[in-house]
């Protein structure tokens, strides 16, 4: 059963009791929170994800008010993993982004059967494009537009490269948009389901976009890495896909590897295999329509 198969009230009750477990790609997360607004957004954004009926839980995650009188004066939320708080509390109004960041942290910190790179991943016809990018590069905006234009979402933030066979695994979690890109995607994909906007976070205003149903239902399908494309958004720029040095791309991916150093030589070898098999590009774009045409040409084999 998917989460949307539960009523919003039942999802809220299960989250309050800590009995709501969701399958999120290769992982199972149990979520607990007394905050009804968090339960509501989880129910909306993860509605197509399966409810897990298992005792094998990868992450016991919770959002709770910190103790002390401050919680009455200025409500806050604390992210907890296995009952421990790895971060400082944030304003309660930022609970939902905090949950997303916390889940990212859980995966990046513990899922070492993967080489985990900070990158979006989209797929078409079994071939995946890895989009590494610093904040402001337009990575998530491009990712959101692609997955509402025929590409499948594997992940907006975490590329999961299987250390055993080099395949990319999917998470299909919500796409996190910031500031101006929220309105851009609102206009581009008017049918997309958005969370409420969360203002004044460390990254500005954030809104989460529900992953397309098809991406969630195909989350167990892996994809073969085909391209590493480093996006750079420049307002008004003409789309320009230029070959990038594989060595420079390698270094960028290593820099963006959450657990690259943990894997040591095996991580280096995995990254060598990845970069060797992929066409590497730098992609400058200023308009989503142009960008999508370039990606469609890539998928059609009209470009390298």
């Amino acid at each position: 059963m998917n989460l949307a198969g539960l009523s919003a009230g039942e999802a809220r009750r299960r989250m309050r009791r800590g009995t709501l477990a969701l399958r999120v790609g290769p992982f199972t997360a149990r979520l607990r929170s007394p905050f009804p607004e968090v339960a509501r957004e989880v129910w909306r954004l993860y509605g197509d994800h399966p409810v897990a009926d298992t005792d094998f839980i990868d992450y016991h995650a919770a959002l709770a008010p910190p103790r002390g009188p401050r919680r009455w004066l200025r409500p806050q939320a604390l992210f907890l993993l296995d009952g421990r708080a790895p971060f400082r509390p944030l304003p309660r109004a930022q609970s939902v982004p905090l949950l997303e960041w916390g889940l990212n942290w859980c995966i990046a910190r513990q899922a070492h059967r993967f080489l985990i790179l900070h990158a979006a991943v989209v797929e078409r016809d079994g071939r995946a494009a890895i989009l590494p990018g610093d904040p402001g590069s337009g990575k998530s905006t491009l990712c959101a537009a692609l997955v509402h234009s025929g590409w499948r979402l594997l992940s907006d933030e975490l590329a999961l490269l299987d250390m055993a066979d080099g395949a990319l695994h999917a998470l299909a979690r919500p796409v996190s948009l910031k500031n101006e890109s929220i309105e851009v995607i609102h206009g581009f994909a008017p049918d997309a389901v958005f969370s409420a906007p969360f203002a004044d976070t460390a990254k500005g205003t954030i809104a989460l976009v529900k992953p397309p149903r098809d991406s969630v239902s195909r989350v167990h399908e892996t994809a073969e890495p085909a391209w590493v494309i480093t996006p750079e958004f420049a307002a008004g720029a003409t789309a320009d896909l230029a070959p990038a040095s594989k060595a420079t791309t390698f270094m960028e991916l290593a820099h963006n590897g959450f657990n690259y150093s943990i894997h040591g030589a095996a991580g280096f070898d995995a990254l060598v295999r990845l970069v060797s098999r992929c066409a590497c590009h730098h992609f400058r774009y200023g308009r989503l329509g142009d960008a999508l045409a370039v990606f469609d040409a890539l998928a059609a084999g009209e470009r390298g």
């Binding site: 040095s245 594989k246 060595a247 420079t248 390698f250 270094m251 290593a254 690259y260 150093s261 040591g264 030589a265 280096f268 070898d269 060598v272 970069v275 060797s276």
Partner: protein, 94 residues
């Protein structure tokens, strides 16, 4: 550091290194430090030569054949100093 022009150079424990060439650049992983480095073509060729066998400065200058002849020596010295600073190579004791 001993005079780099007079020393023979060798790679420190080659088994701890991973080296991969991509066209005219090389990436290098050092298992001892956990560091990954990007080397240009010349530094990559010097390292690849030294992985094969130790060599003296004078035996390496031919690797800079594409450089201005007046600058070849200086370029090789710069590369040797950089690789030495990274802990990847060291001079052989006489």
């Amino acid at each position: 550091m001993a005079n780099p022009r007079e020393s023979a150079w060798r790679v420190v424990r080659p088994s701890r290194l991973r080296v991969q060439r991509f066209a005219d650049e090389v990436v290098l992983y050092d298992d001892r430090s956990g560091d990954t480095h990007l080397l240009d073509d010349l530094a990559g060729r010097v390292l690849e030569r030294l992985l094969g066998a130790s060599a003296r400065y004078g035996e390496l200058t031919d690797l800079a054949a594409g450089e201005d002849s007046a600058r070849r020596g200086a370029r090789i010295l710069t590369v040797l100093e950089r690789l030495h600073r990274l802990g990847v190579i060291k001079p052989l004791r006489k």
